[in-house]
Symmetry: C2
Subunit: 434 residues, 2 copies
């Protein structure tokens, strides 16, 4: 049985001493400058390499090679899990800690998004703490806001820019006109992208985060298999620049919505109007917009990653543990999570869409494109054809009036058959609300 009296002292075991772990150890060294309700003491750490230089001295802490062993050590009250991954040592350590009556604070979005239901059940069965503010949007305290402060709001939509790497890449491609691969390579050099950028650029990282927010906001069981995910790697600089001429920005938008009794979650490049709150989020920043009754719209913006911001989010969770009670991990008890995510593919949703492509170098292609659209009953809201570049293909971009994605996929197949486009056309939804 867990003791829920307020605490004045917590002993931590920190698993994973990478950038964030080192940032956390440094912040704990400065705890006298913080507003914590008690004293934190790091008693043990665990990581893969003991000798790696982390810019922080770990020699004073008891060392564990195995985070699972550390998670159950007598002299820790809290496992801080910064290993990452939905399986393997992170999951094993979290489970071991919860079973042993230790509180868990984690920054692991994959674990909560993909295993959140079973891990939360385990925490609840022991009446134990499981907190994960650092898993979403870094220093932006959106998890706790949705779970607690906004529990009196009937949320209709949570949307955001939840991956700073993608946002940085898109901002830079627009600013410089450089190609995706070149900007990604720069981002890696500057530390805005990982050596292996797959989880970021594929949209999976943002999908993990939005699934966590959606579960809480809608009181629904997390179900990662239901998220529609599209990444940024197909976007061309010309798409960003022609969208700009239409007064839109292309952003990787993660969103969760509730409409007509269905809830859904998707991550995809979306055109948002320049006066939309998400359009104004540049570089590696994150932002979350919460819409609902009776509040209208709230926007939270801040650094979504990095040692300091993530460590501060972990610290906020640790502060909460001093209070002695933290409530169900997902806001409601898992047994009360009545919502289920819809797996409906968004192909039939009516929306305006953006198409970007380079037209082949021969006469009549522009007419053939507009004719293909007309034949499918798709009417055009705006269209731009720019002058041909050195490769003599002409960049073209258009925004349709509301139609379905599947209709446009048919049009693009026809265009491909007639070799109208010189590249693979891009198809993105347009958010017309400001």
């Amino acid at each position: 049985m867990i003791d829920h009296a307020p605490k004045t002292h917590l002993r931590l075991g920190v698993a994973g001493i990478g950038t964030v772990g080192a940032g956390l150890l440094k912040l704990i060294e400065r705890q006298d400058e913080l507003r914590l309700p008690g004293r934190l003491e790091v008693t043990a750490v665990s990581a893969r390499s003991r000798s790696r230089n982390r810019g922080v001295d770990v020699s004073g802490y008891r060392w564990f090679d195995d985070p699972v062993e550390m998670a159950t050590a007598d002299d820790i009250d809290v496992l801080v899990e910064l290993v990452g991954g939905s399986d393997g040592p992170a999951k094993l350590a979290v489970e071991a800690a919860l079973k042993a009556g230790k509180a868990v604070v984690t920054a692991n979005k994959a674990l909560i998004a993909e295993r959140g239901l079973e891990i939360s059940k385990l925490a609840e069965s022991r009446d134990n703490h499981l907190l994960f503010e650092a898993a979403v949007a870094g220093a932006v305290p959106i998890v706790r806001a949705l779970r607690n402060s906004l529990s009196g709001v009937i949320v209709s939509r949570v949307s955001g820019i939840l991956n700073g790497t993608c946002n940085y890449i898109l901002s830079e491609m627009l600013r410089t006109g450089a190609a995706y691969e070149d900007v990604l390579a720069d981002a890696q050099r500057l530390g805005f992208a990982e050596a292996d950028p797959y989880l970021d650029v594929s949209g999976i990282d943002a999908a993990h985060k939005v699934m966590i927010l959606a579960s809480i906001a809608f009181g629904a069981q997390p179900d990662f298999s239901k998220v529609f995910v599209e990444g940024v790697s197909d976007i061309e600089a010309m798409d960003l620049q022609l969208a700009d001429k239409f007064d839109y920005r292309i952003k990787l938008v993660a969103e969760a919505y509730r409409a007509n009794g269905e809830i859904g979650c998707r991550v995809a490049p979306v055109l948002v109007r320049k006066d939309h709150p998400l359009a104004q989020i540049g570089g590696p920043l994150n932002a979350v917009v919460v819409e609902g009754e009776p509040i209208g719209r709230l926007t939270f913006t801040g650094p979504g990653a990095g040692a300091g911001p993530t460590a501060a989010a972990v610290m906020g969770d640790l502060a909460r543990l001093f209070e002695g009670r933290s409530g169900p991990p997902l806001g409601k008890l898992t047994g009360d999570l009545e919502g289920r995510f819809s797996s409906r593919a968004p192909s039939e949703d009516m929306a305006s869409f953006f198409i970007g492509a380079r037209l082949a170098d021969r006469s009549g292609v522009f007419a053939a494109l507009t004719e293909a659209l007309a034949e499918a009953d798709v009417s055009i809201d705006k269209i731009i054809q720019d002058s041909a570049g050195e490769d003599e293909t002409a960049p073209v971009a258009l925004i349709t009036h509301p139609t379905s994605r599947s209709t446009l996929e048919g049009v693009l197949a026809a265009i491909s058959e007639q070799a109208i486009a010189a590249d693979k056309p891009r198809l993105f939804r347009v958010e017309t609300r400001s």
Copy 2:
């Protein structure tokens, strides 16, 4: 002794059934759609007039003419105080409730800003709950964020647009070029300003709110007498429009800062660069920017007033009461609030300043103005003189390089003596950081 076990049922007495109170009663009627951890029941209400039409039926609730009597009634667990004012019935009812072991949730910024120390002490002495999320920035959950989620952040500055009435007036004056009095009258007609707008336009309302945020962020005793307060009623439309030409917006900025061991709080019109987060807040919105280590900057934006947003904030506090423990009202126990606000007038602070004025209708006045500045060793960063209007006075605006307010007050006195300006010149600080 207060029971700190989690609750499943709370009985409310609501004092003050104006716009917000009616909004709260309506939201409670929809509580099945919310994510509350328990059941709310309104058992009693109190207001000045029983017969007033509020768009919500109050006949089913027990009625009290006297909120103090209601505050101590056996069948309420929580006093929801929506009366307002730092003294009188609001304070008496809150004190009576806390003494009687009732939790208190209030939207009363004046009470917390001006009497926060004594009321918090009273709550602590009974180990009782006092929550006031709705007192600051409406639906934006900034009080709880600062108190809890961000307790691991070393805050250096909290700034914001905390009065939607003033922000609406300034946005409209810039957009239309209309005079302050005309826009205020429009705002009153549209419900964006009260019949008696004094607390809003004087800056006092924003000052109340920023004092609350500052006390929590810096762990300091609230001391309203130390806030430097300037309102919006002297601002001319020409100031907003010429500032716009310099790529700045004039906003009523409420800010609290910690620097060189001093903490201070001030509310005044400030020029912020158009790419500053506060510049982009238009109309009646509120925004709060929190800066500190190791996070950089977080921005929270949303509706700062109105029935729905304020009721949702009250609801977030009520949700917390179900958890059974809420911590010290100001984040730290009053005895641990070591910070003291400095009363230093900002007249010696070095900064860039904006001066706006109409030059008198005679030759040589522009030269006389620039000479007066040169004599005081004030160098000009930018200056604009627009063509004279129908009254033949010429609008002029300038931004200085860093100097002190007192130096510029001397220059303005000299200008006034020489009758250079045809109106009373305006002097506003310029925030040069984006």
